[in-house]
């Protein structure tokens, strides 16, 4: 989750750069300023934390929250007034 200042041109540029960096690394947008990524292990999550700290935009606040698969699955999501489907963790084989 991040809250980045966008008042000056350079701040906007830094914020956009950070956001696109996240997308390039496979972080998915959940909502505006909320991005998520599934990790295979806690170690991997910690490596992401270091990676993020190396690519911070320079101003503003960034929160990194780690939740377990179980906590993530238990999340209730409302879309409009209806309840959206739950999202399970990704499987080994993704079939399309």
């Amino acid at each position: 989750m991040f809250d980045l200042p966008v008042t000056t041109k350079s701040e906007r540029r830094a914020a956009a750069k950070f956001r696109l960096w996240l997308l390039d690394q496979g972080w998915e947008m959940s909502q505006f300023s909320v991005y998520l990524r599934w990790c295979a292990s806690k170690e991997q999550a910690e490596r992401w934390l270091r990676e993020i700290s190396r690519n911070l935009p320079g101003t503003g606040k960034v929160h990194v929250l780690m939740v377990t698969d179980r906590q993530f699955e238990q999340m209730t999501v409302f879309r409009g007034r209806s309840r959206a489907g739950k999202r399970p963790k990704p499987e080994q084989l993704t079939l399309f």
Binding site: D24, Q25, E28, W38, Q92, T94, F96
Partner: protein, 332 residues
């Protein structure tokens, strides 16, 4: 290198008319202009297209190539017909490929003996874990000499297949049923091995011993030999459960092998990582001129793999079936 890789997810395009493209760090799958889903590029171990009429963008292929991720195109019966492979995969690639090219014939023959011995040991361990007689193959594994002049590999196959898959079984990639299941499992395995070879800075067209003129990836086929019994064991289990075709359940089970946790000489790691280590040990063998291939060893119970630490020149040969973890097919 982002911390995302390699998660070892296999993405298969199994239904017709899918369009695949790259968007930022994602593979996006579309059908009829609608997005069906997206997968982070760094998480993909292999992209396998089994369906007809799949379209892919070149920028997607380029992005996967940059990550050393193979794109496998399959023909009928899930047999892979083409593989899009990156040109550069490792920072020391040139030096390694030169060493690979310059490998002497004696070195190649000793490496081949290690591959054959490891394959026979893996076959023996697979038979043992299925409760079948394995002593003959274990004995054969000990007798492999440099370059395998007695063709122990073929002798082993003649004993192995009737035991593993039943008397009437014939390994023929064009047949349906168990053969098609094997094709599918091997395709996934081949993709994993191909990726590991490329990541180790080696060239997949230069086989260890055999130089197959009509095969674009002889090295992948050489190196995957000792891992095949892992697929065989899973196919045997699937057939025993009544599976006769390559359906969703069977695919999921076979693809899961790549991410199964396996105990190695360096501790437990995903199978895909063990493959990387195996390819790296081949590169090291070429550079040093000393054959020291590192194959995790197949063990009892549903596809465990155990690395035998530094066995000397392919002939140490005791079969070590330690049961470190009991289940290979639990959810990872």
């Amino acid at each position: 290198m982002p911390p995302g890789s390699p998660l070892g997810r296999v993405v298969e395009i199994a239904e017709e008319g899918r369009h695949l493209l790259k968007e930022r760090g994602f593979l996006v799958v579309e059908a009829g202009g609608e997005e069906l889903g997206r997968v982070p590029l760094d998480d993909i171990a292999a992209l396998v297209a089994t369906a007809r009429g799949t379209s892919l963008t070149t920028s997607l292929i380029a992005a996967l190539a940059e990550r050393g991720t193979p794109v496998v195109l399959c023909g009928a019966n899930f047999a892979p017909v083409a593989l899009v492979f990156p040109l550069a995969g490792h920072h020391a690639q040139q030096r390694r490929m030169e060493a690979q090219l310059a490998a002497t014939r004696p070195l190649a023959k000793r490496l081949w003996a290690q591959v054959v011995a490891a394959k026979l040991r893996a076959q023996a361990a697979a038979l043992a874990s299925a409760g079948l007689p394995s002593a003959a193959l274990a004995r054969l594994a000990r007798s492999v000499r440099s370059g395998d002049p007695e063709n122990a590999e073929a002798q082993g196959a003649r004993r192995y297949w009737p035991l593993m898959m039943g008397e009437g079984f014939r390994r023929d990639p064009s047949l349906p049923g168990a053969n098609a299941l094997l094709n599918y499992g091997y395709a996934v395995l081949r993709a994993g091995v191909a990726r590991a070879i490329c990541a180790a800075g080696l060239h997949p067209s230069l086989g260890i011993f055999h130089r197959h003129p009509h095969n674009p990836l002889p090295l992948a086929d050489d190196l995957m030999e000792p891992f095949r019994p892992l697929v065989d064991l899973e196919v045997r289990a699937l057939v025993a459960e009544g599976a006769s075709e390559v359906d969703r359940v069977a695919k999921r089970r076979l693809a899961a092998l790549l991410l199964a946790d396996v105990p190695t000489a360096f501790g437990t790691s995903p199978f895909a990582t063990a493959l990387m280590r195996c390819a790296a040990s081949l590169a090291e063998s070429y550079l040093s001129g000393v054959p020291a291939l590192e194959f995790p060893m197949l063990s009892a119970e549903g596809g465990n793999v155990i690395a035998e630490p530094d066995f000397p020149v392919g002939l140490s040969g005791h079969v070590d079936v330690r049961d470190v973890r009991s289940s290979g097919d639990d959810e990872v």
